[in-house]
């Protein structure tokens, strides 16, 4: 990929494909990635202080995927998410404080403490929620797509899931239905190479999940999921296609989680060399280097953004810690409408 800067607007050329991104847009993407990174580090820290009940599936390492996709979405577009969903929430525009409060099981959390880390939703920004059953969100995303089609709007759905989910029946059923009905859904497979401790190579014979798109007669593309601009570019095309009622796309983003599957997992099944190699390809560092190289940012500005983000995350953590727990009997509310 080559890049060049022209009057504050950045043109990214890649195999003849051109995108015009405003400087502000690039900075917003960088800031979101940093927010996710620092948010996850903070959540991990709070867990260590016994402030987080249950478990945590951290998104750190995969920031480029959520941000690269959501940067193409409008507020009224939808996303569906997974057990590893904090990054999706932040990228779609949910508030850091209410996400953190939910993770801490507080009344002020998005789900009033009923969902926790694995079930955050913010319907006000089109975040239709995280389901912790692997692959279960895929038909739900297709359903949101069908709703859009029947209501006749030009909204779009982005459906996030991992490569592990692509072995579920819901992947086949849900994507096929979106394909035959030309639904405005972008299926985003975050291939972080491991389903818990199981390597992709042990559970599928193909190298790229995107190849499965052939079975549904839809486009499938594989991109470097640690390159936010590559993700942006692929998602841009897929979102455009969806918005123009031309049907779904399957995008596979090759990426890597920095930590284990969940809080308790030291991830000893991943070879040290592999981890080191992926850490070198860290999406946040790469994007920062690119922005500096393109002279969109100066070192001073980089520091300023980082300090701002750290302050915002600290404020969110303080809000969450200071928030009250729900009253026990609230457990009985919200079962039915």
């Amino acid at each position: 990929m080559r890049t060049s800067s022209l009057r504050g607007k950045v043109t990214i050329s890649r195999e003849g494909y051109r995108l015009n991104l405003e400087k502000e847009k690039l900075l917003e993407m960088y800031r979101k990635m940093l927010e996710i990174r620092h948010f996850e580090e903070k959540a991990f820290e709070l867990y260590g202080q016994n402030l987080v009940p249950g478990t945590l599936h951290l998104y750190a390492g995969q920031e480029a995927v959520a941000v690269g996709v959501c940067a193409n979405l409008r507020k009224d577009d939808y996303i569906t998410s997974t057990h590893r969903g904090h990054g999706h929430c932040i990228a779609k525009g949910a508030q850091l404080d209410r996400i953190m409060a939910e993770i801490l099981g507080k009344k002020t959390g998005y789900c009033k403490g009923k969902g926790g880390s694995m079930h955050i939703a913010d319907f006000s920004v089109g975040m239709l929620g995280a389901t912790a059953v692997v692959g279960a969100g895929i038909p739900i995303a297709s359903g949101a797509g069908l709703s859009i089609k029947l209501r006749g709007t030009d909204q779009v759905v982005a459906c996030f899931f991992g490569e592990g989910a692509s072995n579920q029946g819901t992947f086949h059923e849900g994507i096929n239905m979106a394909a035959i009905w030309t639904l405005p859904v972008v299926f985003v497979c975050e291939n972080n190479l491991y389903a818990m401790g199981t390597r992709q190579t042990n559970v599928m014979l193909i190298e790229n999940v995107a190849e499965r798109a052939v079975a549904y007669g839809i486009p499938g593309v594989t991109v470097d999921g640690n390159d936010v601009l590559a993700v942006y570019e692929a998602a841009h095309e897929a979102v455009k296609r969806a918005r123009e009622s031309r049907g779904p796309t399957l995008i596979e983003c090759k990426t890597y989680r920095h930590k284990g599957h969940s809080r308790f997992d030291p991830a000893t099944y991943r070879p040290k060399e592999e981890v080191e190699e992926w850490l070198k390809k860290d999406s946040v560092q790469r994007f920062k280097a690119k922005l500096l190289e393109m002279k969109i940012l100066t070192e001073t500005e980089v520091d300023k953004i980082e300090q701002d983000v750290i302050a915002a995350v600290e404020k969110a953590a303080k809000f969450a810690i200071d928030s009250p727990c729900p009253a026990p009997e609230e457990a009985l509310e919200d079962v039915c409408a």
């Binding site: 939808y78 569906t80 959390g109 998005y110 789900c111 009033k112 403490g113 009923k114 969902g115 079930h119 939703a121 913010d122 319907f123 239709l128 929620g129 389901t131 059953v133 279960a136 895929i138 038909p139 739900i140 995303a141 297709s142 359903g143 949101a144 797509g145 069908l146 709703s147 859009i148 089609k149 029947l150 209501r151 029946g169 819901t170 086949h172 059923e173 849900g174 096929n176 239905m177 035959i180 509310e333 919200d334 079962v335 039915c336 409408a337």
Partner: protein
């Protein structure tokens, strides 16, 4: 009053709600213009409302329910048909973990107005994969409502309520009931959930029955009346919410109860109702609670085998006589 079939009553409810509310749509296998529903409930709807709103799906039960869920949380009111209730097992994650729990998990941010229509029940020799009665599975999942009409009148009124409800509703239809005729008014009506219907008043014994068993219970009651036993037949009409009070009140009057359901006896619907009666009106009982249900076997194919396992008038009369003495 005019007489129409259970099938036509259901179709009228679908049609009227689709006319009333443009967010209502139907999806399922073979519900469209070509087959018009395995039991012809959706006959004529695709012609009237178009293929977009009466939507044939691939054979993908999990996605039928999942797609309905996604549409429901984004402003639509889907009615999913599962061709045979037995096949709900294929969609069980979407039903029990998604549809039933989305509202709760997300702290009440959304409603999930999905109706899942399913034909259940034995008696037509189609064996173990097309004949079960699985009410108890869904009764055990908080967040689901369950309606199970036994008459054309109840079928129309309950389905309209189900479609207008903001929560997921599992709508049980019994395949032997589709051709049954009964009075259904021309004018608009709905039936609230959680209100049982006394199908026959009586003083000596309460019989609680659901779906096709209501008709077996009524036939048994007629025979028993000739022997001087006055049977009250109560149809709960919805299992979630369940009108406990009507059942308990009846037991307080009769002092005896027989519960008749077509599902397997162990941990079945009858077990739950028996437990409620024991908890809330034990002091009023003059005899043990009796249950008439299917034995714990899959539904067999051959007619003599199948008839052996389905509760009938004889088994109901036997149970009543064991406690009315």
């Amino acid at each position: 009053m005019r007489q129409i079939t259970y099938r036509d009553a259901l179709r009228e409810a679908l049609r009227e709600e689709m006319l009333r509310d443009k967010t209502v749509f139907v999806l399922g296998e073979d519900v469209g213009r070509y087959w018009q529903g395995a039991f012809k409930v959706t006959k004529g709807l695709a012609e009237e409302f178009g293929d977009e709103r009466v939507r044939d799906t691939p054979i993908s039960e999990s996605a039928i329910v999942g797609v309905a869920a996604g549409a429901a949380i984004t402003g639509m009111k889907p009615i999913a048909e599962i061709m045979f209730g037995d096949l709900s097992a294929l969609a069980m994650d979407q039903i029990a973990n998604q549809v039933a729990k989305l509202r709760y998990m997300f702290g009440g941010q959304t409603r999930v107005p999905v109706v899942i229509r399913m034909p259940f029940g034995a008696g037509v020799n189609i064996a173990a994969h097309h004949s079960q009665s699985l009410e108890a599975w869904f009764m055990h999942v908080p967040g689901l409502k369950i309606a199970l009409p036994s008459t054309p009148y109840d079928a129309k009124g309950l389905l309209k309520t189900a479609i207008r409800d903001g929560d997921p509703v599992m709508f049980f239809e019994h395949k032997l009931l589709y051709p049954l005729e009964g009075p259904v008014p021309e004018e608009e009506y709905t039936i609230p959930f959680g209100v049982a219907d006394v199908k026959r008043e009586g003083e000596d014994v309460t019989v609680v029955a659901t779906l096709y068993m209501v008709h077996k219970a009524l036939a048994a009651a007629k025979m028993l009346s000739k022997e001087g036993i006055d049977v009250e037949v109560i149809d709960p009409r919805t299992l979630a919410p369940l009108d406990k009070q009507s059942i308990v009140n009846s037991v307080k009057n009769t002092g005896r109860i027989v519960i008749v359901t077509e599902d397997c006896k162990t941990a079945g619907v009858s077990a739950e109702i028996a437990a409620i009666v024991a908890e809330e009106s034990l002091d009023y009982l003059d005899a043990p609670i009796k249950r008439v249900a299917e034995p714990d076997t899959p539904i067999p194919f051959s007619p003599p085998l199948e008839q052996f396992v389905i509760p009938n008038e004889k088994s109901i009369i036997k149970a009543v006589k064991e406690i009315v003495y």
